[in-house]
């Protein structure tokens, strides 16, 4: 599998410019870069959420893709359980399949009684935990993870990373955006540094992270 992306612009803000990137099946790539570098926009374009303003994206049409990001998309008036049900059904599960997973999701989130309360009463950490647990429902070929491991406290973050590792088979392609080096070192084989919508560096995780840190 490969992506070819060139001359892409991310909407009105033009966050991506002349970006060219090829990703093979089974690669696990960490995307780094400062705020506004275009990381989330790139994930959305790869995920087919919206097209590039210019250029082309090629993705094997047989491969399924899921973009997991945190805290967005919840309906504040619905409980955590109902939001999880909705998220599962929107990801393609039947109502019955979705309902079967609700207790496991609730348990994983460690929300306790809050799982039955409206999401608008949640702290940002609680929303993140719910987002992570509902995001890991689907078994897709390409996983696009936008800060999804920056969840809750230290203990929960560790649990989240382990849960993700359990879900990753060698043929699964992962692109991870994360501001913590440790998560990228643990999960990825390759890192790409984006700056002002262009690839500034692309190579092994150790090399790219070192260059990125030196530039900070």
């Amino acid at each position: 599998m490969s992506f070819g992306l060139s001359g892409a612009g991310g909407g009105d803000h033009h966050v991506l410019n002349d970006l060219d990137l090829e990703i093979q099946q089974g690669e696990r790539i960490g995307l780094v870069g400062r705020n506004g570098a275009g990381k989330s926009t790139l994930l959305r374009i790869i995920g087919g959420i919206y097209p590039p303003a210019g250029g082309t994206v090629w993705r094997d049409p047989k491969k399924t893709v899921a973009l997991l990001s945190l805290g967005l998309g919840f309906k504040g008036d619905l409980s955590g359980r109902d939001n999880a049900l909705l998220a599962a059904m929107l990801q393609g599960l039947t109502r019955r399949e979705a309902k079967q997973r609700l207790d496991a999701i609730g348990e994983f989130t460690e929300l306790g009684e809050f799982y039955e309360q409206p999401v608008k009463t949640y702290s940002s950490g609680m929303r993140s935990r719910l987002g992570f647990a509902t995001g890991l429902l689907l078994d897709t070929d390409i996983l696009l993870l936008d800060e999804i491991l920056a969840v809750g406290d230290q203990g929960f973050r560790q649990k989240a990373r382990e849960a993700l590792k359990d879900r990753l088979s060698p043929d699964k392609t992962v692109i991870l955006v994360h501001h913590m080096e440790q998560a990228i070192k643990e999960t990825c084989h390759r890192a790409v540094w984006l700056e002002q919508g262009r690839v500034r560096d692309d190579g092994s995780v150790a090399e790219v992270l070192a260059a990125y840190a030196a530039d900070a």
Binding site: G11, I49, A53, S69, L72, G73, D82
Partner: protein, 246 residues
């Protein structure tokens, strides 16, 4: 999604699902006081006349207003998942349709309590409601796209619904227009005025609606709805970019 939203909405208010009945009744009550008690409307059986017009008009205006903001209010979900964009206005439309079933029942109760006897003519209510639903889907989807492109449209749509209320014979009778060609033009070019008039013909005046007009309107509404849903599917990713980057 529609059912979950309705459940959440009911939980938000102390009187819960009771508002489905209370709100339309209060609307009719307010209009009755203003137009009958204060302004002295001379339309015969004004309360029932108003109830039919207002309750069926609210279905259209409220749904289109809500559907208009359905894409922008789901920005988070649209930026996360590649979902059909028509899903969002259609969910709102379904939500309002569930509610309208209750309003329909309320209307039947009011009319029967007023002494009307249902006849076979009432079967015309089904095609009338289906044509109205097709119009709502068309207008709701178009409104959602307009607001996604420029949020100011939400205000204009709101204003447009007030304008529609004044020109659709909600609280006045089209038969009272002295200039016959003007009345005919209103019924021809304003589908909501035609539908409200037809509902009253069936429920209050024991008349069949203008079948040819209803058929043409139904076909046009279906064609416009199908074209809108197709275009929303075709340009869904572009719409998503607009919603997320706005």
């Amino acid at each position: 999604m529609a059912r979950l939203s309705l459940k959440a909405e009911a939980q938000r208010y102390y009187l819960g699902y009771l508002w489905w009945v209370l709100e339309p009744l209060l609307w009719v009550g307010v209009f009755y006081v203003v137009f009958y008690e204060l302004l002295g409307s001379r339309t015969p059986d004004f309360l029932m006349f108003l109830a039919v017009g207002k309750l069926m008009f609210i279905w259209f205006s409220k749904t289109v207003n809500y559907a208009g903001t359905s894409l922008v209010s789901n920005e988070g979900l649209i930026g996360r998942m590649d979902l059909p964009k028509s899903l969002f206005p259609l969910t709102v439309i379904l939500e309002c349709a569930y509610r309208q079933v209750v309003v329909f029942l309320l209307l039947f109760v009011l009319i029967l309590a007023d002494g009307a006897i249902p006849s076979g003519l009432w079967l015309w209510l089904l095609p009338l409601a289906l044509v109205q639903l097709a119009l709502i889907i068309f207008a709701g989807c178009v409104a959602s796209v307009l607001v996604a492109f420029q949020r100011d449209f939400a205000l204009l749509i709101n204003l447009g619904m007030v304008f529609m209320m004044f020109v659709s014979g909600v609280f006045w009778d089209i038969n009272d227009i002295v200039n016959e060609s003007a009345a005919q033009a209103l019924l021809t070019w304003n589908p909501i005025a035609f539908l409200l008039h037809s509902y009253r013909q069936v429920m209050l005046w024991e008349q069949a609606p203008d079948v040819a007009h209803l058929l043409v309107l139904g076909l046009l509404a279906l064609a416009a709805t199908a074209a809108t849903l197709y275009l929303m599917g075709r340009y869904g990713p572009h719409l998503a970019r607009r919603v997320v980057s706005a």
